[in-house]
């Protein structure tokens, strides 16, 4: 009993500000809106010339037709890029990335994955990310950079032709863009599922503590 109260006291003093500061929460939810816009309008664009043997159901696409999808996609782009740049800038300047995402080690990730799979991973302290979380968040940051760059490569394959060449040409850049989208959707499924399993984390992302 006493240890719990000490933990609580420590949490209270260590995070008297908040588990998730205001800027993180604001940028997080703006990003959530931007992501949904980008993904759903992206599916609309994909359907015009599918890369694979399937199209996305009309009911989960945004824009009504190709032109509308493109309009949404290129409008959402500004929201995503401005919001993303602010997030990365503040993440570095405030030291949040270093504090929350580092250190990360192979053994730590393996250990925490095992703990998670056997239901032994604790979520008592929300101010510290476990190694699996760190890996996922670092991974999704990299995916975010790659999807923006591959997006620029297929938007401007003449003006940014060196970028397009890095992705292996226009056609390959489209596949890279798609795979990155699929990675983000995969991340979202896990991310949302975990937020629902650990409801305190959703609360922290809304009211801060």
């Amino acid at each position: 009993m006493s240890s719990i109260s000490i933990d609580d006291a420590q949490n209270a003093s260590a995070t008297s500000k908040a588990i998730q500061p205001v800027w993180v929460r604001v940028l997080h939810w703006i990003n959530a809106v931007a992501m949904v816009i980008m993904i759903m309008s992206g599916w609309q664009i994909y359907n015009a010339s599918p890369l694979f043997d399937f199209v996305f159901p009309r009911s989960i696409t945004l824009g009504g037709w190709l032109g509308g999808g493109i309009m949404w996609h290129l409008a959402g782009m500004w929201l995503l890029v401005i919001n993303g740049l602010l997030y990365v800038l503040l993440g570095i300047v405030t030291g949040r990335f270093r504090r929350r995402l580092l250190p990360i080690s192979t053994s730590g990730v393996i250990g925490d994955t095992r703990a998670a799979l056997t239901g032994k991973l604790s979520h008592a302290d929300l101010s510290t990310y476990n190694q699996v979380q760190r890996l996922l968040y670092i991974g999704i940051l990299i995916v975010g950079v790659v999807i923006v760059l591959s997006g620029l490569a297929i938007w401007k394959p003449v003006q940014f032709q060196y970028l397009t060449a890095i992705f292996g040409g226009y056609d390959t850049a489209r596949y890279v863009h798609f795979v990155m989208m699929a990675s983000i959707v995969g991340f979202l499924v896990i991310h949302v599922a975990l937020a629902l399993i650990v409801p305190k984390s959703l609360r922290a992302m809304i009211i801060g503590r």
Binding site: G63, W65, M71
Partner: protein, 260 residues
């Protein structure tokens, strides 16, 4: 109430014909509604707490941002950057036909009758016969055609640089637009910096053969720095102007600059 109104409108009128006429007047919903079906669905509505479906303000906001994107793209556009060129073996054969109609509906043009009308801010607005245009110096390019839909294909085009022709007719190159009209009621506006780009071409041949009907006989405008729909085919007139006159797809919401 509704029944009453209906009886007021309808007496003696063929209902089916009336509906038919009304449908003709309506814009093509699937194209004009940018926000349609999808947007009202789930996540977006939940997250924003508002229903953006059919919202006129959302549509006008999107149009505003699209115009802002036009401006940004015009700034990004570097007239000295050439589109990548490819080799013979990269050419897609057969090169895909594309249009807002099927291939057998493509215009059939008699090259002997055809004339290119020239108008607007030019010193000499006489029209040109195909025979005269064929005598202009010919250049060749193997470049990638990128469709707004996302597919692309590499093709080989021969013709005369548009900027040389604009000089020849004494066009005001300070004007903002070169507007093209086509035989199949297609139209497109090209911003002057793009019209003056070295690779922008009045195209008369594909793969060193007289341009086939499917690819825009007798003349198409090949613009490798733009998406495919900004490459008008079956061109019948060229106008140098400071007024934005839109185009077939531009008027329906495709981004006007659509630069690659």
């Amino acid at each position: 109430m509704l029944k009453k109104m209906r009886s007021l409108i309808i007496p003696g009128v063929d209902k089916q014909l009336l509906v038919k006429d009304a449908v003709k007047l309506m814009p093509d919903l699937s194209r004009r509604r940018f926000i349609a079906s999808g947007a009202s669905f789930g996540a977006l509505t939940l997250l924003t707490g508002c229903n953006v479906s059919d919202s006129v303000s959302a549509e006008s906001l999107l149009t505003q941002i699209s115009k802002f994107n036009d401006m940004v793209q015009a700034k990004i556009f570097n007239p000295n950057v050439m589109a990548p060129t490819y080799s013979e073996k990269d050419i897609r054969r057969p090169f895909p036909f594309n249009g807002f109609y099927s291939e057998d509906e493509a215009p059939e043009i008699d090259g002997k009758e055809w004339k290119l009308e020239v108008s607007g801010l030019v010193d000499n607005n006489r029209s040109w016969t195909l025979e005269e245009l064929y005598k202009l110096p010919e250049v060749s390019q193997i470049t990638r055609h990128i469709c707004v839909e996302g597919w692309s294909a590499i093709g080989s085009w021969q013709g005369t640089p548009l900027r040389d022709f604009l000089k020849l007719i004494g066009a005001d190159t300070q004007a903002k637009w070169v507007h093209f009209r086509c035989a199949e009621d297609y139209a497109s506006s090209l911003d002057m910096p793009t019209a003056l780009h070295a690779q922008t071409q009045m195209t008369f041949k594909f793969d060193n053969q007289i341009l086939p009907r499917a690819y825009g006989y007798p003349m198409k405008i090949r613009v490798p720095t733009k998406l495919g729909f900004k490459n008008p085919k079956y061109v019948t007139s060229l106008e140098v102007t400071n007024d934005y006159k839109g185009g077939y797809w531009e008027d329906q919401g495709y981004n006007d600059f659509s630069g690659s």
